[in-house]
């Protein structure tokens, strides 16, 4: 069975935020909830790199482990989804996730959290595939249509890859090899300019 994974190629990511808005577009995610975000390290300095981060659909998902009501489930493809009907908005999955993927609309008393929302790998939720109930709660179910998450499909530089883990790593490996041939020359301003040829 395929395991669905994301991979963001930091050498290509230019922080254009297409993945962020594509997700908002496709899933009609409201203001304040951001399933995907781009984090930039060393902003403004040499070595600046960006990564697009959302739910990584971990094989051994800590969010699923820690949920007090066990509302998570993993599909056959390795996509980690959850049931909003069962979620109680406690926020533990947010603490458990190293990537901070779970998001909470602030709409309870004392600014308490509403139901958790997160990237679904565009695979919807437990409701019936492509039904309007599913769309309202979880956003689009592209996997059921044979498509892949829109964030990766719309990435400006094809930095964000999504899909079967073997194929993703295959693609990335080829890129590494391709770049590897010039690994000596990256970031060199002058002295080794001759090796550029």
């Amino acid at each position: 069975m395929a395991r669905m994974k994301f991979y963001c190629d930091a050498e290509r990511c230019i922080e254009c935020n297409a993945c962020v808005t594509a997700c908002k577009n496709e899933n009609e995610v409201p203001w304040g909830v951001n399933r995907r975000r781009v984090v930039t390290i060393k902003d403004g300095e040499p070595g600046e790199r960006s990564l697009s981060v959302a739910c990584m659909h971990c094989s051994d998902a800590p969010c699923a482990a820690v949920c007090p009501v066990d509302c998570f489930y993993t599909t056959d493809n390795g996509v980690v989804l959850h049931d909003k009907n069962i979620c109680i908005g406690c926020g533990y999955c947010f603490y458990a996730c190293p990537f901070g993927a779970p998001q909470f609309p602030m709409d309870g008393a004392f600014a308490s959290r509403g139901k958790m929302d997160k990237c679904t790998f565009c695979a919807g939720g437990p409701e019936e595939d492509n039904s309007s109930a599913e769309f309202i709660k979880y956003g689009r179910n592209r996997l059921a249509e044979g498509k892949l998450p829109l964030c990766a499909e719309m990435c400006a530089t094809k930095a964000l890859l999504a899909g079967d883990a073997d194929m993703v790593s295959d693609i990335y490996r080829k890129r590494i090899i391709n770049r590897g041939a010039s690994v000596l020359n990256w970031g060199v301003s002058y002295n080794n300019a001759k090796l550029r040829s």
Partner: protein, 970 residues
């Protein structure tokens, strides 16, 4: 050196037993799946049958989903979009995986384009300002009142008192109609965003070798062995272009060189980064050329055959020693040398620039220097080389080509009598009638004096033939003393048609100008800051225009390809497509019949395809003649058949064409010219898309041959340089009888630009010749203020000590109808009071004036505050911490209140502000002044409120990349 070049060839040939590297980027087989079950074959084996269950009746992907093809409206890359519409509602957006420009990719704006179907903050109905309050009116009322006022102004002042400010976001058809309408009205006071964006590029580049557009294409960068970017930040302004640049970087090991005052996101992915003081492009480019000449790296053969005037350049370049370069620009020699060597060693290399280079008083010098650099290296007219100019808005290229400019008619024909007569023929109108529409005044040829009624003997230029006021100076058209303006009266009415005000400088004066007008009309999908930045109580009309998603037509991408958009949804609320509004207004003004004489009109909407055909009938200069609506639609339907790198269709219905038939697409549509993917490339025949440099500047200068020597296009019957083609020339060459009889009738006494049958072009091409001649590019433009591009300090410079050696121009009494100051401003040293250099630029989430994108919640959430980037040293000096509110005071005493972003991106002594914000003015929040429900989600200060006076010496481009300011804690 050649040994080393060969090595990279070897790298590619090593069989690493992996799939071809093209797959690294082409995920088509892997990811295609935009139609229900079509693609995703790889996927099918890996997804369980349960997941693949077909959609239900209530699904979002039902059988009644239309898939409509259109093009993004946010920048000139021209990314393809597949819009999914159900029952007239825009419900989904799919990536266009087989579109040759973007392969389904987008940036934040393109990925959010479906919001155009929501349009919550749109201008919903025609609105009028009555006693300080916005009142809804009907279209009839609005058009009637506006029309009456315009006609009144025409009578009491003159037609020149109305300013028609057009848009780079119009489709080609709308832009053309707009320019035509200004002509029908009788004024040359018509312009659009190109003025403040790439006008210096067009002027500088066209005057170097013939056409002022991107010479190759984004896709052609795949073939580049080096990429140099100066004053360009595609990571934020053209993100999808990075896809192509990365391909060069990763597959060709192309070094990426970025020259910019800021360490931009593009610089973060570059191999060489040169930090320059804003406004010092010439020192750096000449500094690079210094090393190239010194080491003999220039392409001498290319220069001999195809370049005029390089000797003069050598003399100027010799002055730019490494020490002088470093002294002026701040870039040390090793970096300049490394960059020069990288470009010299890795040919062909491409040269990219944007606003960083163009928005200066010496913008035309900069752009020409860039061209000269590429000429010196022989990087012109080759695949992978060229000057790849990234234009801004989605159709700024088209609007420029179609002449929405104060100094020309469609097709760059200019404003001479011959030009008007040509277009009179195309428009099927009486030339005298058109002339009669203009004010009957004239000026002496040097434009320096105002003369009363037109008088032939005084050698005067009729106002029909003189350049109008450019958009960058429209406020002076209102505020300047009318005796100093080369037209009868001041501007009284301003029509902002698809153009924001906050992209022009001197905001405080603009507010005054807006208040002095008799009439202010805004035609836009959004109110824009024009609706709120002034304190008027009446005389303002807002007309809701439909976006390009709600109409259809063609659009020209930066690489000159023309793409056809289909209509996604009907116009929202009460908005109307621009061409419908134009027709309604023309009806009221009494010029509708002339405007659409040969254009079918149904329910006040001119037929778009008829407009396209009229464009095809008249735009011979740049070859907009072969791109018929039928061919363009065919390309759109078959955009998947075009090759990713060469853009040529291999098989399929458009076999042999280049995608979008990039202009020049010579001859009539029947000739089926495939378009010209790379300009000036003699390795192909003209019929296959090859070209030579244009013979535009005469055949000889100072005794030197201006025509090409020994260089000519493939299969050219003339094996040397030749001038542009005319009927006479065909007769001399003995090719006259190749014309058909009807072509002969049309071509008699005409040339390749004015022969409406296209016969001259057809015959020239038949003999392998470029219709516009085969000449040398000229490195010196003897008609410009600085024939050899030289460095001049900005008007507001931080290095006043350099003004003596590098002064700006003398003040001019009348330039584009207005007095224009240079020296009198630079004379004063502002650098003590205003010690920080202020520059401006783009953000990826927003576009242009910003009201449209800031009204899109998905984008607005990502940039909620206007800010200024400042260096930690300057922040500490001002006692400012990251996130504090600060006042940025410009050198002309306008100030803006913004948040401080303390970062090392900018150098110490330099500050950067994005220019997309509007809705605050000098600390005041104007949200309440917007019409109900149409204020954008995010408001902020406009950077250009604080930007200062300064205009290019040829095109009046504003100098918004180097001014001065001081920053204090608020």
């Amino acid at each position: 050196m050649s040994k080393l070049i060969k090595k990279s060839g070897q790298i590619k040939n090593i069989d690493l037993k992996v799939k071809p590297v093209a797959d690294a980027i082409n995920r088509r087989a892997f990811l295609k799946g935009s139609s229900l079950m079509a693609g995703g074959a790889a996927l099918a084996t890996t997804i369980s049958p349960v997941m693949m269950k077909k959609a239900q009746a209530t699904s979002t992907s039902g059988a009644n989903t239309q898939q409509i093809r259109t093009i993004c409206t946010h920048c000139s890359v021209g990314c393809g979009i597949i819009a999914e519409v159900q029952n007239g509602v825009w419900t989904g957006q799919e990536p266009a995986f087989d579109h040759p420009f973007n392969k389904g990719a987008h940036c934040a704006k393109g990925a959010a384009i479906r919001e155009h179907g929501h349009g919550e903050r749109r201008l919903k109905y025609p609105t009028k300002l009555v006693d300080g309050k916005w009142k809804k009116v009907s279209w009839e009322t609005a058009i009637n009142e506006i029309g009456d006022k315009l006609l009144d102004i025409r009578k009491t002042s003159s037609p020149d008192s109305v300013y028609w400010l057009g848009s780079a976001k119009h489709s080609n058809e709308q832009a053309y109609l707009f320019r035509k309408m200004a002509g029908m009205w009788g004024t040359n006071n018509v312009d659009h965003q190109a003025r403040i964006c790439h006008s210096t590029t067009v002027a500088g580049v066209a005057n170097t070798w013939g056409y002022g557009a991107m010479t190759n294409s984004y896709n052609d960068i795949h073939n580049s062995k080096a990429v140099l970017l100066i004053g360009a930040n595609p990571a934020e302004a053209h993100p999808v272009a990075l896809q192509h640049i990365f391909k060069a970087k990763e597959e060709n090991n192309a070094p990426i060189i970025v020259i910019d005052p800021r360490f931009t996101r593009t610089a973060a992915h570059a191999d060489h980064y040169l930090k320059i003081r804003p406004g010092t492009d010439i020192p750096v480019i000449w500094g690079m050329l210094y090393h190239i000449f010194k080491n003999g790296w220039e392409d001498k053969e290319f220069i001999r055959q195809r370049v005029f005037g390089m000797e003069e350049i050598r003399k100027e370049v010799a002055k730019w020693t490494p020490d002088e370069v470093e002294r002026i620009s701040g870039v040390p020699v090793n970096q300049v040398f490394a960059a020069a060597k990288a470009m010299a060693d890795n040919r062909p290399g491409t040269f990219i620039w944007c606003m960083g280079g163009t928005q200066h008083t010496i913008g035309n010098n900069n752009t020409r220097a860039y061209c000269v650099f590429q000429l010196a290296l022989g990087n012109m007219g080759v695949s992978g080389g060229g000057t790849n100019i990234f234009r801004g808005h989605d159709n700024v290229q088209g609007a420029t080509d179609l002449g929405v400019l104060a100094d020309t008619l469609p097709g760059y024909y200019g404003l001479s009598e011959g030009s008007w007569k040509h277009w009179a023929r195309v428009w099927d109108l009486d030339y005298e009638w058109i002339k009669g529409q203009f004010d009957n005044v004239a000026y002496s040829k040097d434009g320096k004096e105002y003369i009363g009624e037109h008088d032939e003997k005084d050698n005067a230029s009729h106002v029909m033939n003189t350049k109008g006021i450019p958009v960058s100076r429209w406020i002076d058209g209102v505020l300047e003393d009318k005796d100093n303006i080369a037209q009868r009266e001041n501007l009284k009415a301003m029509i902002f048609w698809g153009h924001a005000p906050n992209s022009q400088t001197r905001g405080v004066e603009m507010k005054n100008a807006m208040e002095k007008l008799d009439l202010l009309v805004i035609v836009d999908p959004y109110p824009t800051a024009s609706a709120v930045m002034h304190d008027r109580k009446d005389g303002v009309y807002l007309l809701p225009a439909a976006t390009q998603m709600e109409t259809y037509g063609s659009v020209t991408a930066s690489n000159r390809s023309i793409q056809w958009r289909d209509k996604v949804i009907d116009p929202l609320f009460e908005s109307l497509p621009d061409h419908t509004i134009m027709y309604k207004l023309a009806k009221k003004l009494g010029v509708a019949d002339q405007l659409c004489k040969n254009i079918k009109v149904t329910n006040d909407e001119p037929l778009v395809e008829d407009i396209t055909r009229e464009i095809n009938a008249g735009m011979w200069t740049i070859g907009y003649t072969g791109q018929t609506p039928e061919r363009l639609k065919l390309h759109q339907k078959n955009w998947g058949t075009f090759d990713f790198t060469s853009l040529q269709a291999e098989g399929g219905a458009a076999d042999g064409d280049y995608y979008g038939l990039p202009w020049p697409c010579w001859g009539t549509g029947d000739m089926k010219h495939p378009g010209t993917p790379n300009l000036y490339d003699p390795s192909k025949t003209v019929a296959e898309g090859g070209l030579t440099f244009r013979a535009r500047f005469g055949v000889e200068k100072d005794g030197v041959n201006l025509l090409a020597e020994g260089s000519f296009g493939k299969d050219s019957d003339i094996k040397d340089g030749y001038p542009e083609f005319s009927g006479e020339m065909l007769k001399k060459l003995g090719w006259w009888d190749d014309l058909t009889d009807s072509e002969k009738t049309a071509a008699e006494g005409k040339n390749w630009k004015t022969d409406l049958s296209g016969g001259i072009q057809r015959v020239a091409i038949k003999h392998g010749c470029s219709p516009y001649g085969n000449a040398k590019a000229r490195a010196i433009v003897w008609t410009f203020p600085d024939p050899v591009p030289i460095h001049r300090e900005p008007l507001y410079t931080s290095r006043h000590d350099l003004v003596e050696k590098y002064p700006t121009y003398e003040d001019r009494k009348s330039f584009w109808r207005l007095p224009t100051r240079y020296q009198s401003i630079q004379a004063k040293d502002y650098s003590k009071e205003f010690p920080i250099i202020l520059t401006s630029g783009r953000l990826v989430e927003y576009e242009g004036g910003g009201d449209e994108t800031r009204s899109n919640a998905w984008l607005a959430e990502l940039q909620q505050d206007m800010f200024v980037e400042m260096h930690p040293r300057d922040a500490n000096n001002a006692g400012v911490k990251d996130g504090d509110d600060v006042w940025v005071e410009g050198a002309e005493n306008a100030k803006v209140k913004v948040k401080a972003q303390v970062t090392r991106r900018v150098a110490s002594g330099v500050a950067f502000m994005p220019f997309h914000f509007a809705g605050h003015f000098q600390g005041k929040d104007l949200k309440s002044k917007y019409p109900e429900g149409s204020a954008p989600y995010v408001l902020g200060e406009a950077a250009n409120t604080a930007m200062t006076y300064g205009y290019d010496s040829v095109t009046q481009m504003q100098e918004s990349k180097c001014s001065l300011c001081r920053i204090t804690k608020a």
